[in-house]
């Protein structure tokens, strides 16, 4: 178990490092110049050269990478060009907001999608289930920026019961959470339905029914218990993806999270900030994935992590 954990941690660190290195190269290959973004209107070529020298951007890519790695091992991710503060600290300030939004969205998803999926599986192929099915397809098809704008129009403008943007009260959490969760609820409920239909058709359900187990226990304890792994995996993967920044929704709602930060960092070609964001979000995603894997043997006794490849 310890060996498994060490190996997984090693893999995680490698994953984050490779992601970070790839992004390091890619942002410098992409068109756009941080110096032009920083210099203000009508800069002279001397101005630009001075700025490039100041941030070490006049060096070769290899030298820049070497300096980046050296600083990384001392815990220094560079100074954000636009915030004039350590890039790592700028990102860390934003992380709690993204975690709050993601956690709220995934909790809402689980609370709605699991009962909905179970309900659909119990009534598979009936007329009422068809209605739910159509709803989930609609939920899958609506773009999140559109849902966000619609919710804003209704609940912040027409009937102003909730704040339109920012996170100053807990009410501000409602609209972004719902916006993020719509797609996830649609996807996860369909997954739950599929898994439950398969589980409910298993021989052990028939045999349990033969010994007088109630339909309720068959559904929630037996069938759902046996569907837990794929459902939890999907929820975890979605959560990890949200931690990378729920970009569109954060921008629509002015949410001060990592997603809106990354947009600003990209606009200004703020290389250290981009790199710090990638490091933090990739580490979070990998951590969540690791936690899910560690939960497997609790959900299915047949999984023994020590033997996993």
């Amino acid at each position: 178990m310890i060996r498994y954990l060490l190996r997984r941690l090693g893999q995680s660190v490698l994953t984050v490092f490779l992601t970070l290195s790839t992004v390091f190269v890619l942002v410098r290959m992409a068109p756009g110049d941080p110096a032009a973004a920083l210099a203000g209107p009508n800069p002279t070529s001397e101005d630009l050269a001075r700025i490039r020298e100041q941030f070490g951007l006049d060096e070769s890519l290899l030298t820049q990478y070497w300096v980046f790695l050296r600083d990384l091992f001392t815990g220094d991710l560079g100074t954000s060009y636009s915030f004039h503060a350590p890039a790592f600290d700028v990102v860390l300030d934003r992380v709690p907001y993204t975690i709050t939004l993601s956690a709220a969205a995934i909790a809402l998803t689980a609370l709605v999608a699991v009962p909905l999926g179970v309900w659909m599986a119990r009534r598979a192929d009936t007329k009422r289930e068809l209605g739910a099915n159509v709803l989930t397809i609609a939920g899958q098809s609506m773009p999140d920026f559109w849902i966000g704008v619609m919710l804003l129009t209704v609940f912040a403008v027409l009937v102003p019961v909730l704040p339109a943007s920012g996170f100053t009260t807990w009410g501000g959490l409602v609209l972004p959470t719902v916006t993020v969760a719509v797609l996830q609820m649609a996807l996860i409920s369909r997954l739950v339905r599929r898994e439950m239909v398969a589980a409910l058709a298993s021989p052990y359900i028939t045999v349990a029914r033969s010994r007088g187990v109630s339909e309720r226990a068959l559904t929630w304890r037996y069938a759902l218990g046996n569907s837990a792994i794929p459902v939890l995996t999907a929820l975890g993967t979605r959560f990890a993806a949200m931690l990378n920044g729920v970009v569109v929704v954060e921008v629509v709602f002015g949410w001060p999270g990592v997603g809106s930060l990354v947009v600003r960092a990209l606009e200004t070609r703020d290389y250290p900030l981009i790199q710090a964001t990638v490091l933090v979000t990739a580490a979070l995603a990998v951590l969540v994935q690791l936690l899910i894997d560690l939960a497997y043997p609790l959900l299915d006794p047949r999984v023994r992590l020590g033997k996993a490849a």
Binding site: P203, Y204, V207, R209, S210, R211, G212, Y222
Partner: protein, 287 residues
């Protein structure tokens, strides 16, 4: 093993028909069969795959998918008409009638312990039973079906047992219902021949001690000969021949029964060198 016929039968079936709604249309899987089982009796339905024998058993327990199986005729299980009142079976499943399933490897929930599933069966039979008492009684039951070290096996999961041991666990779970009628749906066909004998032995011993009636479903004439009082040979949803085990085996009247007998090289399930060959080797029937 037969008892005097004045005792009320545990199972009375008359002109039972079961129609299954499949993608290719309606199939009459069981076409007008009738038989009875008295306490202490073992009645066997034998036939090849698709003959309707498992469908009969599952239909009588109302375990066929609702809406996809239509039952008609008369069937009384422990005196309750399960065709006129489809919900009646719910009151006796696990409380008087039990099932021993076909394939023990898939018959238990893989994510719940043996103790959870056996304890649950005990507590369904005796709603007032505490967890600790259910555990004590369950461990005793596991011992009765000769599971070694039942105290430690209580918290083990199904994948930690062999097929033969799992079938013993399933028999223990079936016994938790304190059944009067036991439906054994090919209880040994997924097991090795050597293990089969032990499981059948156990069933016979339990029957002698408790006087339960058994409905045995099998494709194996060796099994049928060993355990049955009466045999009904089934083909295409009908009984082609019925009678006491000796007469069916020694003097088969129907050509199909003779064919079944001829297909078995040597009778007797303890012959380890041969297994009954086709057509009797048909495997699991789909429910």
């Amino acid at each position: 093993m037969s008892r005097p016929s004045e005792t009320a039968p545990l199972l009375e079936v008359e002109d039972l028909q079961i129609e299954l709604i499949t993608e290719r249309g309606v199939v009459r899987a069981v076409d007008g069969v009738g038989f009875t089982i008295a306490p202490g009796e073992t009645v066997t339905l034998i036939g090849e795959s698709g003959s309707g024998k498992s469908t009969t058993a599952m239909g009588l327990l109302r375990l066929l998918p609702e809406g996809l199986a239509v039952l008609s005729g008369t069937a009384r299980v422990l005196g309750r008409d399960i065709i006129a009142d489809p919900k009646a079976i719910r009151r006796i499943r696990g409380r008087g009638v039990s099932l021993i399933p076909q394939d023990p490897m898939t018959a238990l929930s893989p994510v719940h312990t043996i103790g959870h599933q056996l304890g649950e069966a005990l507590r369904l039979r005796h709603p007032g039973l505490s967890r600790a008492d259910a555990r004590a009684r369950g461990i005793e039951l596991l011992g009765r079906v000769r599971i070694p070290h039942p105290e430690t096996r209580w918290s083990a999961y199904p994948h930690q047992f062999s097929g033969g041991m799992l079938q013993r666990v399933l028999i223990a779970i079936a016994l938790a219902a304190e059944p009067e009628l036991l439906v054994a749906d090919e209880p040994t066909s997924a097991l090795d021949v050597t293990v089969q004998a032990g499981v059948l032995d156990l069933l016979m011993e339990l029957q002698e001690r408790t006087g339960i009636g058994i409905l045995m479903i099998t494709h194996d004439l060796g099994v049928a000969r060993l355990v049955s009082d009466r045999i009904h040979v089934m083909r295409g949803g009908r009984f082609v021949e019925s009678g006491p085990v000796e007469r069916i085996v020694d003097h088969p009247a129907d050509p199909y029964t003779r064919g079944l007998l001829a297909a078995v090289p040597t009778l007797g399930p303890w012959d380890e060198t041969t297994r009954p060959a086709a057509p009797a080797t048909a495997h699991r029937e789909t429910l």
